[in-house]
């Protein structure tokens, strides 16, 4: 595929279909999908969401307003899901890992991309830049099939995986050539994650990222809540920077903007201390 191929004129995009599609698990996929859901709510953009990860159901268990259906488990469910796509600006689907081959086959069999283009729907796939073989292979397969008929958001998650090898591949350069932006997920400490998990176990309830970041939510230590709020703010800020057109088709849909946190203070140091005004 040449550069000119993927610079072909794009049909007008009225709606977005966003989903992860890679086969590797444990990348932070559902966390990012939940962050996008949180961002869409925060921006006050009307959207539709589906948790299609039948095994984990993380998104629907933490977000009570999200439906779970096994739309990636059998072809008929996928077909019905595509047929039932609602007329809203953004549709967010959390596909499970390990279903890339089937999903790619079904996207082609049901002529989904052709139909999407006719309807003004453009897909955005979330690609995690993991060095693991399955992650690279499935990203490569999806890119070869969708090519410039989809957009891609590249995701670094240094707490979960390394990305050096992925970035050395022609696939990465191709994705950059296609204008794919990169977001980096900040690391949460094990203490924060364990506290969140322990709270869910003790109360036998699941809490969304929005729940635990709400200042009136009293179940977590203030340090844990502080770091979760920081995590959410950093991701939402990055998502907002790349929101149009890859997440939201029109900037006019965003009614609420993220308040940017001031960067942490740092003091330049020199061996001699000569540049420090207090020394």
């Amino acid at each position: 595929m040449s550069k000119s191929d993927h610079k072909a004129e794009k049909p007008q995009t009225l709606r977005r279909f966003i989903s992860p599609i890679q086969s590797q698990g444990e990348l932070g996929k559902s966390t990012l999908v939940e962050a996008i859901l949180s961002a869409l709510k925060f921006w006050k953009v009307p959207f539709a969401a589906l948790d299609a990860d039948a095994q984990h159901r993380t998104l629907s268990m933490r977000n009570k307003d999200v439906i779970a259906r096994a739309a990636a488990t059998n072809k008929n469910e996928f077909h019905s899901m595509i047929q039932a796509l609602p007329d809203v600006p953004v549709t967010l689907v959390d596909f499970p890992s390990g279903r890339t081959d089937e999903l790619l086959q079904w996207f082609q069999e049901f002529h989904v991309i052709d139909g999407f283009e006719r309807e003004g729907i453009r897909p955005t796939f979330l690609f995690f830049l993991s060095d693991k073989a399955k992650a690279k292979e499935s990203a490569s397969k999806a890119t070869q099939i969708f090519d410039a008929r989809a957009d891609y958001i590249l995701v670094e998650n240094p707490a979960k995986f390394e990305s050096d090898d992925f970035k050395s591949k022609p696939l990465y350069r191709l994705l950059l050539d296609m204008g794919s932006p990169t977001i980096s997920m900040p690391a949460l400490t094990p203490t924060a994650l364990n506290s969140w998990d322990a709270l869910e176990r003790s109360t036998k309830q699941r809490y969304s990222l929005d729940n635990v970041c709400d200042p009136s939510f009293g179940g977590l230590h203030w340090t844990t809540q502080g770091t979760l709020q920081h995590f959410r703010n950093v991701i939402l800020s990055q998502l907002e920077d790349i929101a149009v057109p890859r997440i939201v088709p029109d900037a006019g849909l965003i009614q609420n903007r993220v308040t940017r946190l001031k960067p942490f203070k740092t003091v330049a140091t020199a061996e001699s201390g000569l540049h420090d005004a207090l020394l």
């Binding site: 006050k44 009307p46 589906l50 999200v66 259906r69 096994a70 469910e77 809203v88 009614q255």
Partner: protein, 114 residues
């Protein structure tokens, strides 16, 4: 030569006991019913012990009783089923609806500001 193994006089009434337990009768009530309906005199404790023994009993090969139509069944816990769109008969009314697949979230439902 060893004699015939002991067999409880309640052996013939196992299904009766199971049936009454399923009808939520107490052990004492079953004991009373055995006396009244079958002229079998025994104690509450005997009925309970027999029932417990019978459920755990292992039989020699070839001597297993026929499967009882009212044998106790233990249900395994099952996760709520994932809904699937496979109606028995498909009509135009069964077209997949957005609300069956997607949660549609509008600004009015959205969470409070950051």
């Amino acid at each position: 030569m060893p004699g015939k193994p002991f067999q409880s006089k309640l052996e013939d009434f196992y299904d009766f006991i199971v049936q009454k337990r399923r009808a939520r009768k107490t052990w004492q009530e079953i004991t009373d019913l055995l006396k009244k309906e079958h002229k079998v005199e025994t104690t509450r404790q005997n009925v309970y012990d027999f029932f417990k023994r019978k459920r755990k009993r292992r039989y020699a090969t070839g001597m297993e009783p026929e499967a009882s139509p009212v044998s106790p069944v233990t249900k395994a816990p099952v996760l709520p089923a994932f809904p699937t769109a496979e109606p028995d008969r498909y009509s135009i009314d069964d077209e997949p609806k957005p609300s069956s697949y997607f949660s549609i979230i509008t600004p009015n439902q959205n969470t409070k500001d950051q």
